[in-house]
């Protein structure tokens, strides 16, 4: 292991770091947040070496440092959320997760194919990644989840001899200011292709406009009363499409009222699905918000198959994410689609009907 002081020695530090990275070695380098652990992210052997170094500390994935957005785009696809974040917040203490292009070594991208990118606001790292021309892994050189490494001493006193033997080079910039580790931001939930399996065209479409939350709730109540009156012998799915703040939860409250539910209907977003047992008409009222699902097929892990086995009333917010799956289930369940839009501050446009 070689330790190089960065101060007054930048050119040599960069050339030595480049040589070490090219040879598949591990370097420890300073950033604006803390010391990082770097290998060539495209070199499978080097990445394996890094993983064997890190096994004792396993609560963070591997992200990579690049020099600018242009370089990042060789390795990930940026959607509009990501582009905005790059423009406004990079370089800076953020790790921005996007869909990977599969161009880094195995084990660097997550198992869903996403990759976290850092552009450290730290001159040495920007130069190093620029000269190296390839992404360098940017996991923090933490030795335990308690201690963020701000000095070389932090690292050396908390690593075993075996681990130290794996480190080839340390770039020592002294004690770094105690900034928090980078904030991880996932932009892939906003990917249009994840959000929409396909837009749904509603057949026999009806349209109403509500002028207040009370009216929106009232509409939900009436809709469910009509559905009960149909006396169907299968589960019913009410599939919502509509942006934030259009009143989906309000309408669900009205539906719950029609079912005689006394509890407060609160948003299911965080836990994905809330179930309410019923005494008549249906076995359960299941209120779902699937915005957080990465892929439509995860709906099965949340228990859709079980929900379809009995006569339940299932409300799904962000149903456009599983429109294909719902199409395939249209024999097993009676499906009503509802689209909601803002008309004005208090008015909402509600379109509803069956599948096209």
């Amino acid at each position: 292991m070689q330790i190089l002081k960065l101060k007054g020695n930048k050119a040599k530090a960069i050339s030595t770091a480049i040589k070490t990275l090219k040879e598949g070695g591990i370097i420890i380098y300073p950033t604006e947040t803390c010391y990082g652990l770097g290998v060539d992210a495209t070199n499978g052997e080097a990445v394996n070496k890094l993983i064997s170094y890190k096994t004792f500390r396993d609560d963070k994935p591997i992200s990579v440092a690049v020099t600018d957005r242009k370089m990042a785009e060789k390795y990930v696809t940026l959607n509009s959320t990501a582009k905005n974040l790059y423009k406004e917040y990079l370089p800076g203490p953020f790790t921005i997760v996007s869909k990977g292009r599969g161009k880094v070594a195995k084990g660097v991208e997550s198992n869903t194919g996403t990759l976290g990118i850092r552009i450290p606001k730290y001159d040495f790292m920007l130069k190093l990644t620029k000269v190296f021309g390839k992404p360098i892994t940017a996991t923090s050189a933490n030795v335990s989840y308690k201690k963020t490494p701000y000095s070389v001493k932090d690292i050396l006193t908390h690593t075993t001899k075996k681990q130290q033997a794996l480190i080839d080079l340390i770039i020592d910039a002294g004690t770094l200011p105690k900034n928090d580790p980078s904030t991880v931001i996932d932009t892939t939930l906003d990917d249009v292709n994840i959000l929409r399996q396909g837009s749904i065209v509603i057949r026999h479409k009806h349209k109403v406009i509500t002028h207040s939350e009370e009216e929106t709730r009232g509409f939900g109540e009436k809709l469910v009363e009509n559905l009960i009156a149909k006396k169907l012998n299968k589960p019913i799915i009410i599939a919502f499409q509509g942006e934030l703040g259009t009143g989906k939860t309000q309408m669900s409250k009205g539906m719950a009222k029609a079912l005689g539910i006394k509890q407060e209907i609160t948003s299911p977003t965080y836990i994905i699905a809330r179930e309410y047992k019923l005494k008549k008409n249906f076995a359960k009222f299941v209120h779902m918000d699937i915005y957080k699902l990465m892929e439509g097929k995860e709906i099965w892990d949340v228990g859709l198959a079980e929900m379809l086995k009995e006569k339940n009333l299932i409300v799904i917010e962000w149903a456009e994410k599983i429109s294909q799956i719902l199409k395939e289930q249209s024999k097993k369940a009676f499906i009503v689609w509802i689209n909601m839009y803002h008309k004005s501050e208090s008015e909402r446009i509600i379109e509803y009907g069956e599948f096209e």
Partner: protein, 368 residues
Amino acid sequence: MKILAIETSCDDTCAAVLNNDRVLSSVVSTQISFHKKFGGVVPNIAKEKHKEFIDPCVAKALKQAGVAMKDIDVLAVTYGPGLAVALEVGIAKIKELAKEYNKPVIAVNHLEGHLLSPFLKNSEGRIYSNIKPKFPFISLIISGGHTELVLVEAIGKYKLIGQTLDDAAGEAFDKVARLLKLGYPGGPLISKVAETGDRKRYDLVRPMIRSKDFNFSFSGLKTACLLSLRKIYASKSAKHDGEIISFSTTSDYFDSTKMFFTKKEISDFAASFQEAVADVLVTKLARAVAKYNVKHVSIGGGVCANLHIRKRIRQQFEKTGIDVAMPKTRFCTDNAGMIGIVAYHKAKRCEFLKDVMKLDRDPILNFK
């Protein structure tokens, strides 16, 4: 009394070992799933994931505590509220362990866990928050899935006095981050960009702040944010190369690659939003303290990790002689340590399950 506690109500698989109310170990699945997913950022709710992580989590918790299964006196598990298929995994595991090792079981309400989390002790017996519970007190639980005010008359004796009527406080952070096109999750991000922001710049309504009850509406605040952002956008839309994107159909806004707001506007907006959340929480909490005439307050849940909200709550009660017990950051978000402390108190009251095989999950469990 050695307790093994399991928690699987939502994203994280958690296991902990306690000696009475002292935490010997507390393991969360994100520490197990090395680089498979992005640090728990990507939702990890699927029951298959819980099934995969539960054994390693339990093994790691026992190992870190230096305790063997045969030394465990009591088993504890969350039975609600939460995602049904996720809760089932923890319950199935506890049934298996209870049968194999013939141990008594305690079923725990996840919310009671958040409520008692500030009173967890370290292995030497020091309360992490340095504050002992003094009854009666008011507890404010603020997380991704819940926002509740609870009157605590004694441990085990709770009265729900108010709650959100729609979205939880933590959820509002995620949704406002989305409106600002900042990505997921919103909590840490909003608090980060708000650091340099002007919290007085945007005047956001504080829904229900004047209502006499102790309920909240964070969906109302989210909608207020949407409308406010739309106004800012409308006032400057002409400047965007003549391209008019109607913010009224919000999907156009999200599909567009344009950034409508400057970095300064985003920082100021995040700070203004955070301030609105803090105002509502602090106002209702202070009013509950006055009405029930308590001398003690505690908070719990993931949103308690937000430094600005912690600061505002601390400031509110600074000169009043009212103690505020706050959980250590790692016990704010979901963990099994807090399930263990509930089990400890229930065990002292001999509230063991008579027939563990009959234990069923209760996805909408709440305080009465």
